[in-house]
């Protein structure tokens, strides 16, 4: 049997607006992913710990508070330091285009803004995993 794609959905930082994170988590579950919904107010360290423990392929973060330029680089750095730099870090929220570009240069995966169909994020993750498996 094919292994299900495992995704950790989390909300780092202090913000509690979890509508987007939950909708995306539900859509991924319905698309056949194994979704670990980590919940709210997680530090980057906690996220990394869970990602390792749950052996996920993808970390998906929802950030609406404007703290993305602090949090994404921090999580990315910790991923590399903890030997999971080969996993995908992606996410969504209220993130201006130029910040998305800056984060992409650092190595963060695609970030999705308001109005994105959930299937875009799902297809993106699927193709990322497929590409990785070819390597």
């Amino acid at each position: 049997m094919e292994r299900k794609i495992r995704v950790l959905v989390a909300k780092p930082g202090l913000d509690g607006h979890d509508r987007g994170a939950k909708v995306v988590a539900a859509a991924m579950r319905d698309a056949g992913f194994e979704v670990i919904y980590a919940g709210l107010r997680l530090t980057p360290e906690m996220i990394i710990e869970m990602a390792i423990q749950e052996d996920v392929d993808v970390i998906a973060l929802s950030i609406l508070s404007g703290a993305h330029m602090t949090i994404f680089p921090k999580v990315l750095k910790l991923m590399q330091e903890n030997g999971i730099g080969d996993k995908l870090l992606t996410g969504g929220g209220i993130i201006p285009a130029e910040d998305i570009e800056k984060l992409s240069v650092l190595g963060v995966g695609k970030l999705f803004g308001p109005g994105t169909p959930t299937r875009d994020a799902i297809e993106y993750i699927k193709s990322w995993v497929a590409k990785r498996e070819k390597k």
Partner: protein, 554 residues
Amino acid sequence: MNKDMERVKKRRSEWEIKKNAQAKDRDIKFITVSSEPVELMATPDTIEDFNYLRDLGFPGAYPYTRGIHYNMYRGKLWTMRQFAGFGSPEDSNKRYHYLLKKGQTGLSIAFDLPTLMGRDADDELSEGEVGVCGVSVSSLRDMEILLDGIPLDKVSTSMTINSPSAILLAFYITVAEKQGISLNKLRGTIQNDILKEYIAQKEYIFPPTESMRIVVDIMEFCTKYISQWNTISISGYHIREAGSTAAQELAFTLANGFAYVKAALERGLATDDFAPRLSFFFNAHNDLFEEIAKYRAARRIWARHMKEKYGAKNERSLLLRFHTQTAGCSLTAQQPQNNIVRVAYQALAAILGGTQSLHTNSMDETHALPSEKAVKIALRTQQILAYETGVSHTVDPLGGSYFIENLTNKIEEKAEAYFAKIEELGGVIAAIEKGYFQSEIARAAYQYQKEIENKERIIVGVNEFTDEDEIIDIPLLEIKKEVEQRQVERLQKLRKSRDSKKVETALLALGKAADSGTNLMPEFINCAKSYATLGEMINVLKEKFGEYVEPVEF
């Protein structure tokens, strides 16, 4: 009358046969924003047992369906209250002076996430969030700067703060005292609606029971000393933003309202002493009629329950006064100028629904905090409604519409069914702990998203009428990085310069009061005066009360 009704029914069925034979509907679902089916048309028999005096009455009279004032906006226009706050206290202070100069009539303070979560600017978890979503206030010093030059006896101030609301109120009171203003002159609102935090916005700190105690402490204190202050703004806004339907917004909000009433009664307060100072805060989403029905039903339900269940005698206890904000969740990142139009329709719903105050969102809020230009357009939208469209000249113009009355009845029935369900679960707090509200809302949010993705619901610019290769060309507000550093520096300077003995004594007294169960407000004020910080006060209480962890539902 009855004979007339028989004739209407007969003619209606004849008409329906003709209609079905000759008219073909477009092949789409005709549903509201809340996914409720919509009737093509209502006729007198749709609301067969409609009783004007029982169901509507007159504006300013029980059950207030038509509005809470005799002459509504002829007497006084709604308050145009734009929620604002960002960056340092200096930055926000400048924005408030700007808004007051442009004709805004009330202040509305947005705090940043660290403040909302009771954390100081120099807290480890505050990194990257200081001054981003709102203004950073960690101590009385910040509040003094924030309110500098604003006459607190002349403006009414709304503060959107929940878990640490008592502390921010203590800061505000202390600044007013320093301006030489007596407390009974202060007018304003603190949101202080902790229940909806557990349900929707998730900015909780303590467990529900302890949080409710602080809420009632505030009610008790304000009833005695700041009689013009609205002690809770019972909020459906965030419930809706989290993805609920209109009926859920209405029902969960009013259920929370009744829970506060019960808690205050248990403390020994008298309904008519505190109920007049409860106010409400609703969302205005895209579905014009559904929203109007929601506001009308809200007034009627509140009045009936307060009168029949909670023994209110004072008329003011029966009045559901509410603020409205247009739906942030309805705004699109795509073609952001379209949001100006959405906001205008939503604002119209709020006015036709009889709101007391209104915030209109800015077009750019799916990208960043609003720029000055975008805020101005949002405010002008309200002014155009108020001064050009004529809608403010008349009261409840849709009252008596078969369609609207039916919609109002239906949403009221739905709310009553939810009240029964919540009761069955053991009340609001028990239902929160069981994750009931959270999963109801998550389900509705997912349903809405699926409708968009299946194109059963069209959102202009998002899943239809899209612009390929769109470039967003509106100016965005940028928060300067220095804000966090400046706030941290100011706070650390304060910690060194204040009388630390005084701070210690005040914090100790706060801890004691937490244990003994006496009212915490005087202690918060005392702490504020000593320049104890927000985080320091919250930490004392965290030790006493513990921290809440929610059940996870998605």
